[in-house]
């Protein structure tokens, strides 16, 4: 079923929430308040939001180092998300994971990942479990174009195709793998790789949230009826550097200006304006989203730093009656 304009409003709101949340993180990072590495997904929000629009809580997703949007779109709590990235005790991972490991298994968010490509084997296993349970759920994995050069993609394409496992492979092709362009990383294309394993493939404009959602809807419905893998390649744009603080001297001005023209949020906004929504509607929505973020961020900042008594907790599962 194609996405209706009423749901475009919902998708727009989600994209905006991710954008504003990451813009706040960007500022916090610049002020020295975010420890570690920070990879922002600004410019890529339409992928996470479009894909998640067709997933339920019993469907699983696995993500990569650029996973803030994936987590929020799957429904990770905003305050728990901020607290985690700030390294606080009330973070979704109690401050032990950080930006690259945001997870909430209770809603099927199996984790961002610090290892390029590592989400694919995990998702393959999750899909096998879901298929064994037989309730028509699917497992999606987000990865970048850089992950196409990792060996595990071969193993995972092969196994999911051979065993007809319901994995939705979602490639966010932003043209960059750290500081190197994709064409210097891969001797083939994702389309040809998919074809080699007999996996249905679609390429979409990853900055058009409706296009992503429509394609995901089509694929996921097929997968629920008859488990088997699918690949969606989303052409998208990494508006920020590889990480915050990246001087990006390897990129040129043309690319930068092309990216602002392709901004997924600006595009959805013009679509909604064309459909008759007023500036006032947008103002209200922005105010609402900002205050939601203010509340969550306040909670997160109020959370204490984890204390060293939790240092070795949770390495293993405590067992009653077993020492």
């Amino acid at each position: 079923m194609p996405i209706k304009s009423s749901s475009l409003q919902v998708l727009y709101r989600q994209m905006l929430l991710i954008r504003r949340a990451e813009e706040r993180l960007q500022k916090l990072f610049a002020d020295g308040d975010v420890p570690g590495f920070l990879h922002l997904s600004i410019g890529q929000e339409a992928v996470a939001v479009g894909i998640s629009s067709v997933l339920g809580v019993a469907d699983t997703v696995s993500s990569n180092h650029r996973g803030h949007g994936h987590a929020l779109a799957k429904g990770v709590s905003l305050s728990g998300f901020f607290a985690e990235i700030l390294g606080r005790a009330d973070g979704v991972c109690r401050g032990r994971g950080g930006s690259m490991h945001v997870a909430d298994l209770s809603i099927g968010m199996l984790g961002a990942n610090g290892i390029v490509g590592a989400g694919m084997p995990i998702t393959t296993g999750s899909a096998l479990a879901l298929k064994m349970k037989g309730a028509g759920n699917i497992a999606a994995v987000y990865f970048g174009d850089g992950a196409l050069a990792e060996g595990v993609i071969h193993e995972c394409f092969n196994l999911t195709s051979l065993w007809s496992l319901p994995v939705l492979f979602v490639c966010e092709n932003n043209g960059w793998s750290e500081f190197s362009p994709t064409e210097r990383q891969l001797a083939t294309s994702l389309e040809r790789l998919s074809a080699a394993f007999g996996i249905a493939f679609a390429s979409v404009d990853g900055n058009d949230v409706v296009a992503v959602a429509d394609q995901a809807d089509k694929f996921v419905n097929q997968m629920r009826d008859m488990p088997s893998p699918r690949v969606i390649e989303c052409q998208t744009t990494r508006i920020r550097g590889h990480f915050e603080g990246d001087p990006q001297d390897y990129r040129n001005k043309e690319e930068m200006s092309m990216m602002s023209e392709r901004d997924p949020i600006a595009r959805a906004r013009s679509q909604l304006l064309a459909e008759g929504l007023s500036d006032v509607w947008f103002e209200q929505l922005h105010a609402e989203v900002d205050s939601e973020i203010d509340v969550a961020l306040k909670l997160a900042k109020g959370s204490p730093e984890p204390t060293s008594d939790s240092l070795v907790a949770d390495v293993y599962t405590p067992r009653l009656g077993v020492s």
Partner: protein, 324 residues
């Protein structure tokens, strides 16, 4: 008590675990139709069907990844890595994913997965089919490692490993597979982390595990002739290991030898020795001696492999040194 082959006990443990819990499934190379490269999974496909016993392609990273992802999604996978040497191709999923998931996600989840891996030489299988790599995994927080030495412990530790909420690496010595030992008609789980005294003795404690337990018992027989009475302590679990039992044995014998088939340097024995040099210091009447393979890859030629693998005579020599 009936005597059965070690392999039969492994098979029985898998069978019983699958029978009592539908979420247990088996995956590995040639584990289904062929019944396993060493026949550890024989008959499971026939009993439980292709929905619970999976012949995987030769793809160790995704075999381990399937275990991780399925464990995150409510199953209890048991993956077989055909030779422990091949586990190198699955390291990311085991070390970066399985081991860390619970801690890294703030205790949200447990990953009840088992990886079975046969280790050890003695088959002239050469440098890439003979290694004992258990120390690598014992070094990684979040993993448990067991290495049973006989049929009853193989059964009991595999049942415990499958029941355990966390990732467990079960290391099985290939030369033990055909060896027979007692397995009760109603075999029981063996708790992870508990050692056992295979042979009580007064003079020297020999801490060991896996196939070296047999060598230590042979050494004990030889040493009896010399009037030396050694205690053979089988660790059974390597991570966690039973420090308390080692200390209490040392408190009786005051002399310690630690023996394993793995390369001596930086091995499991190094950890045991370091702890005993600390918490057991006051009990020691002699330097602690390690027995392990020399610092070289496991060689192929019969003569070389025989010289390479530590055995009863090496243990005898080490015991004599502690008494010298």
């Amino acid at each position: 008590m009936p005597e059965v082959r070690y392999l039969k006990a492994v098979n029985q443990a898998l069978y019983d675990a699958m029978e009592v819990d539908d979420s247990v499934f088996v995956i590995g190379e040639d584990v289904a139709a062929a019944g396993g490269p060493f026949k550890a999974t024989r008959g499971l496909l026939e009993t439980f069907g292709p929905g619970r016993v999976y012949d995987a392609p030769i793809a160790e990273a995704v075999i381990a990844g399937v275990a991780v992802g399925a464990a995150m999604t409510g199953m209890r996978p048991v993956a077989e890595i055909m030779f422990m040497d091949f586990i190198t191709l699955a390291m990311d999923q085991i070390v970066n994913q399985a081991a860390k998931a619970r801690s890294m996600f703030g205790g949200q989840a447990s990953l009840p997965l088992v990886i079975r891996a046969p280790h050890g030489g003695g088959l002239n299988a050469g440098p890439q089919h003979s290694q004992c790599l258990e120390a690598w995994f014992a070094h990684v927080p979040g993993l448990k490692v067991v290495c049973p030495a006989n049929a009853a412990d193989a059964y009991g530790l595999i049942r415990s490993a499958i029941d355990d909420p966390d990732p467990v690496i079960v290391v099985e010595n290939k030369t033990l597979y055909a060896a027979k030992s007692e397995l009760p008609d109603d075999p029981q789980a063996v708790p992870i982390g508990k050692a056992t005294i295979s042979r009580p003795g007064r003079d020297v404690t020999v801490v060991t595990y896996g196939a070296m337990v047999r060598e230590a018992l042979t050494a004990a027989d030889q040493l009896t002739i010399e009037g030396v009475d050694i205690e053979v302590l089988d660790l059974r679990s390597i991570q966690p290991w039973d420090e308390a039992m080692v200390v209490s044995s040392l408190a009786r014998t005051h002399r310690l030898v630690v023996a394993h088939e793995a390369v001596e340097a930086f091995g499991v024995g190094a950890e045991v020795v370091a702890r005993m040099a600390d918490v057991g210091f006051d009990e020691l009447d002699a330097p602690i001696i390690r027995v392990g393979a020399p610092f070289a890859p496991s060689p192929f030629a019969k003569s070389l492999e025989a010289a390479y693998r530590p055995d009863a005579s090496d243990i005898v020599r080490a015991v004599r040194r502690t008494l010298a």
